[in-house]
Amino acid sequence: MKSVVIDPITRLEGHGKIHLFVNDDGSLANCYFQVPELRGFEQFCVGRPAEELPRITTRICGVCPDAHHMASAKAVDGVFGVVPTSAALKLRNLVYNAFYAGDHTTHFYALGGPDFVCGPDAPAAERNILGVIAKVGVEVGKLVIAQRARGQRVIEIIGGKKVHPVTAIPGGMSKRISKDEQAEIIKIGAEMVEFAKFTIKIVNDVVLANKGYVDLILSDMFTHRTYSMGMVDANNKVNFYDGKVRVVDPDGKEHCKYEPKDYLDYVVEHVEPYSYLKYPYLKKVGWKGFVDGVDSGVYKATPLSRLNASDGMATPLAQAEYERFYETLTGDKSGKKPVHQTLATHWARIVELMYACEATAALAKDEEITSDKLVNKPQHIVGEGIGIVEAPRGTLTHHYKTDQKGIITEANLIVGTTNNNAPITMSIQKAAAGLIKKGTKITDGMLNRIEMAFRAYDPCFGCATHSLPGEMPLEVIVHDAASGDVVQRARQHC
């Protein structure tokens, strides 16, 4: 029996690995997904003043510092028993949506999109953003760069720094914005919406117009009927910053809807001996292994699951795209949900991109965002706080406990990708089982399709991505299932 690992060569650590164990006849015996985990962050927090954590936690991840900043700020609000002012909440919402607009743009054009724009069988050397602009034009590349710059400018104005915001503090925000800055954000918001419209056109023209891609998206190989998790507002509309966490079952029926403070009543974590990263699951359903269905507590927390867990989007253009999304993928015009095809997550991300851009544009026009009433000063220390936001790649939870002086005594984090550890494993297993058959030769194209199952989740192990060359690649290793010997490594760039 043989085993295959999908593996990077430029970095020896800090990367995900897929191990494929293959029988002598070429059939798949088993499949494991391993990711690294940074050690010791919770312990690092202990002994530090709680109010420092929103600034420190942005360093956890080079990919979504804004999400950690916001989840941490909400947890610290709880520690000090204070609710931010109305103006501060609007500013937090505004800057967070602007962050989403940039993040989802990066994923679609640079990371997930190349599989569709360039094609899953395109040579690895072309299957990147350079291949995307080669196919759709340099002008599109310029638009992408401009969109990223817009998001960063809003973060710089409101968050104080371009990438790692610093202005969310207990009870509010520390930086007031001027009328001129508001005018600039209004202009940026309008431009963002135009960019989102353009991106929807790209999805239509390049992806949906290609029957082969649509068939691939809808194929059983990339389908799992799991529970879906996402934060919703009072009207069950998708919300990234605030609300309740809602979970629907594989048929779309509400399983639970809970306040962030109650998360431990609903989510627990399973451990496997071969992975540092735990496997969260729904406590009231239970862990039944890496299987889907209503009796398995495995859930997804992704753009697709957020759409599934909601009743729609709170802005008009995103709502229209939401409806088209479900009509197209279910073939039903009555609003039938949910959708379970993992590769549809890419389109769901574009629905969210439109929402983030519209929300940025709408909040920018709110007169209250230039208010000087930015902080409700903490009056006492409660000693415990839980903050949940939707990070672009999943529900993000920060939970702190402090002593009477507000010094951290305990910290617990469930980061976005961790939620999806079990479904990612299942998706890789299913794709591998669908592709690696008795008597077949394993090709780069097959391995890329297995990677596509992984990539759709936009997984983040990005905490150490600063080390050269700046990527967190994935490795696929094929092992002989009998001996465990490595017989093939997928190094697409070699």
């Binding site: 985990e37 050690r39 312990q43 690895a124 299957r127 990438v163 990677e451 080390s467 990527e471 070699c494």
Partner: protein, 166 residues
């Protein structure tokens, strides 16, 4: 075009050996004040973000950590950015790589430095959250500072020679 050379120190202040870049930046800023002859920036960034920092510069030295597995921890690797080219095809992470960012910048007509050099320390631990580097990497800071001073002097000399020719 900004004529002052840029020393761009990358890393993460709270991830063990990934502190190398920020520690070097701090040392340079404290020891040299405004007399270094180069701008020094610490940035906990990668990919697209680097493009933003490189645009409009004439010469840049990137200071970072690297894991090649081919040298003992603390070893300094010096090489031009162009030699990272083979890695540009990786597509599975969140960020594009430096070579991809540079190629993207070139194709989009962004003004990029004529010189991009890299000095990277072989790391031992980039997974532990810690405000302490491992000993071999910490010991490499002095050597890196010496290298950076020479690099800056070389860039200044080139600039001066270029001006004489003009």
């Amino acid at each position: 075009m900004l004529t002052a050379p840029l020393v761009l120190c990358l890393g993460n202040e709270i991830i063990s050996d990934d502190r190398f870049g920020p520690v070097v930046a701090q040392r340079l800023q404290e020891e040299q004040g405004g007399r270094l002859g180069a701008d020094v920036i610490f940035a906990p960034l990668a990919g697209f973000h680097l493009l933003d920092l490189l645009a409009g510069r004439s010469a840049v030295l990137i200071v970072d950590t690297i894991l090649t597995g081919s040298a003992p921890p603390g070893t300094l690797h010096e090489f031009p950015a162009g030699t990272l080219t083979p890695s540009k095809n990786l597509t599975t992470s969140h960020q594009i790589s430096l070579p991809t960012a540079l190629e993207l910048g070139r194709r989009l007509g962004i003004e990029l430095p004529a010189v991009i050099d890299i000095i990277a320390v072989e790391a031992q631990d980039v997974e532990t959250i810690s405000e302490n580097m491992t000993e071999p990497v910490a010991r490499a800071v002095d050597e890196a500072i010496s290298f950076i001073r020479k690099w800056i002097a070389n860039q200044s000399r080139k600039e001066s020679d270029h001006a004489d020719l003009d």
